[in-house]
Amino acid sequence: MTMNLVRAYGDTTGDGMVQLSFTLPVPAGPRAEAAAALFAAKMGLDPAMVVHAKAVGPDFTFFVVYGRSGVIVDLDEVEVHEREFPLLTAKEINLEVRSMLGRRLVVVGATVGTDAHTVGLDAILNVKGFAGEKGLEYYRELRVVNLGAQVDPAHLVERAVAEQADALLVSQVVTQRDAHLHHVRLVAEELAAGWPATTPRPLVVVGGPRFEPRMAAELGVDRIFAKGTTPREVASYLVHALAQRRVAA
């Protein structure tokens, strides 16, 4: 094993031990436990110890399993989504915007679709901010339009047109049945349909606790921010991405 191959660690290097729990739609009993052991074996646990089995109603059984996983991760293989832009100070950001645009950068934010969670969006936008950092409203050179929650994607695009937005900030917290992906796709579609061909398209920045940042391209958006994002990261990104666009243009 080179230094970069790692296995799970229970209490000894290389022991590969993991904990697993799941429910099978099988009535409790020896058959269910054997099925659970097989399930765990198929997940690569060998040995797999079914250490707890509990009937959940007449038709289901819940299991806790411990076992040794054969999985080896090559750390060199791991793709880390590294921040592709420098973190700037508020001062630098304001300066950049002024010198780049000669006007305030316009941000229109909303939680779209049926999602009514605004705390995350507000954490990024409101002056109050998040994790000790002030939100985008605090930046002199940013103009923030916060549309709140449960905004119809079409309405968001309309407002973005009206405000001549440089960036749309879309928040999505509910992920059940992939609601977040669905809503983000709707925004992308509405933007394609509703944005005037004459002006450059705004950046579409998406955020929420359960997003996978690597999915941006797939969803047709520019950048995805996940759990724990801070306002300064977002502001720094905006400046960086707009600058890049100018270079490209």
Partner: protein, 523 residues
């Protein structure tokens, strides 16, 4: 649990308590006056539902919406729908409300407001129709009482569990499983977005997001399934849904018609968390509570939600203020103390020193302020991280606070809060958690004696004092101002912003609402 022991641990100053109630009454008065003198599209639709109008058009828009819209288009809603509708029903010789609605939707009817003897006929006919709906509600209440006597009413705290698959046919076995595992109350969470629909969907539904649509048929299916399991278990299992959002009055009505037992129903939740117009909400909540009062339904208010957007220590007093307001609005609408399931929550940051004792102080304060209310205590959500082990522990301390302060309804926390909608196994584990705490610590409340000037009592008194201070401001400046200022849940909602404002209509002089009349006559 001996009540004498439980109810006076904090030595609250009863004069302060009385003053808080008087201030709440003063603050609520102008809002109640508003609600008495206005109606909304949803209130009017509820009247039609009581009169038995069901079903929807091909696009799924209910006939009650079609009919109310048609009336509004012709004569406005200031007179209420009852006069023009029953007038037209007789005049046009329509077989029934459904036929009328269809015709009206097709544009084939011109409504008018009857006067004189015609008015009298419309009044009588509409009263008779609506009375049938109310009779159904009364029958349901009797059925519930009978079942409670026959099957037995579980002791408090009631264990309250949520199902939220989005599919009524997945919800049902999950709810039954939960009941078998010990749930006393089943809540079917609604699909995201339903609260902003200005109509109630129809039929059995399978496509909700993170919740299942509230429909009359879903109500019926679930109540029937729980009746089965109640009989099986020899214990009446209650059913809850949400009389909240733009259709609050109608959903309350459907709850009464389908024998739901409790309903989420808050005087301000829709305003703050759904950006519904404040006036709309205050008018709707009054009607819905009159229905709940009649139906013997326990309401659950939503103060717990404030602590998800505001800090649970800083904003503790806003919870108490809102509870006093909800109490006042509820009593005025005819609810009894035993129907006031005032909400609060265990949402203090667990990293805060003495967090658990602060929670005990808040929970005990609410218990002593509202000794006869079936308080609903909500588990931690905001500080549930993805660490399911720690989450399971935090839920246990929530359960413990509930047991130690004699809460009435415990919403059972899920270790996957913050991650996914609850798994079947989460619910089972959560019940194991509650059962342990409830049984292993059964009498622990007896050993809980906060010192008169100790940490717990001092904190409780401080929260009460802050509540009185805030109520003074509200009584002076008006509740609408307070809401606009972001007092509740640090969310600002101006009085004339928000959704559904166009559904608010002032009563004309001849406004008639046979439902309100009947409900107020007997209240």
């Amino acid at each position: 649990m001996t009540d004498t022991v439980r109810r006076n641990l904090l030595r609250l100053d009863q004069r302060t308590v009385r003053r808080a109630r008087a201030l709440a009454e003063r603050a609520a008065a102008p809002v109640i006056e508003l609600a008495r003198t206005h109606t909304t599209t949803s209130v009017e639709r509820a009247v039609l539902r009581l009169a038995g109008l069901t079903g929807a058009d091909a696009e799924g828009i209910p006939w009650v919406n079609r009919l109310v819209d048609a009336v509004a288009a012709d004569v406005g809603l200031g007179h209420g729908v009852a006069l023009p509708v029953w007038h037209e029903l007789r005049r046009g010789g329509h077989t029934d409300l459904a036929a009328l609605a269809q015709k009206a939707a097709a544009g084939g009817v011109a409504f008018a407001v009857p006067e004189g003897r015609e008015r009298q006929s419309a009044v009588t006919a509409s009263r008779r129709a609506v009375a049938r709906g109310i009779a159904t509600i009364d029958r349901n209440r009797k059925t519930r009482d009978r079942l409670l006597r026959k099957l037995g009413d579980p002791p408090k705290p009631w264990i309250y569990l949520i199902v939220a698959t989005g599919d009524i046919h997945e919800d049902i076995p999950q709810a039954q499983a939960a009941a078998r595992e010990g749930a006393d109350v089943i809540a079917v969470i609604r699909s995201t977005g339903q609260s902003l629909l200005d109509y109630v969907p129809e039929g059995a539904t399978r496509e909700g997001f993170a919740g299942t649509y509230a429909t009359q048929e879903n109500f019926r299916l679930m109540r029937a399934a729980l009746d089965d399991v109640s009989a099986e278990l020899g214990r009446y299992v209650r059913l809850t849904n949400y009389a909240s959002g733009l259709c609050m009055p109608e959903i309350a009505t459907l709850a009464g018609l389908e024998r739901l037992d409790m309903m989420l129903n808050d005087c301000m939740y829709g305003i703050i968390f759904r950006d519904i117009n404040p006036r709309r909400t205050f008018i709707d909540q009054r009607f819905s509570r009159q229905i709940h009062a009649r139906a013997g339904i326990v309401i659950n208010t939503g103060e717990d939600n404030y602590l998800t957007t505001a800090d649970a220590v800083d904003a503790a007093h806003t919870v108490v203020v809102s509870q006093l307001l909800n109490e006042r609005f509820g009593l005025e609408a005819g609810l009894q103390d035993w129907q006031l399931g005032l909400g609060h929550a265990f949402e203090i940051n667990p990293a805060l020193p003495e967090q658990f004792r602060l929670e005990l102080a808040h929970a005990q304060l609410v218990r002593e302020l509202f000794p006869n209310a079936p308080l609903k205590y909500m588990p931690p959500t905001k500080h549930m991280t993805g660490n399911v082990f720690f989450g399971y522990l935090l839920d246990a301390f929530f359960n413990l606070a509930g047991v130690m302060t004699d809460q009435s309804i415990l919403l059972v926390g899920m270790m996957t809060e913050g991650i996914v909608t609850p798994f079947l196994s989460d619910r089972d584990l959560a019940l194991e958690n509650v059962r342990y705490v409830r049984d292993a610590c059964a009498g622990l409340a007896e050993d809980f004696r906060p010192a008169p000037d100790g940490f717990v009592a001092t904190r409780a008194r401080q929260v009460l004092a802050e509540s009185v201070e805030l109520l003074e401001r509200i009584a002076d400046d008006g509740l609408f101002t307070a809401i606009a200022d972001g007092t509740f849940g640090v969310t600002r909602r101006p009085a004339d912003g928000g959704r559904g404002a166009d559904g608010v209509v002032a009563h004309a002089d001849d406004y008639l609402n046979p439902a309100t009349e009947l409900l107020e006559a007997t209240a």
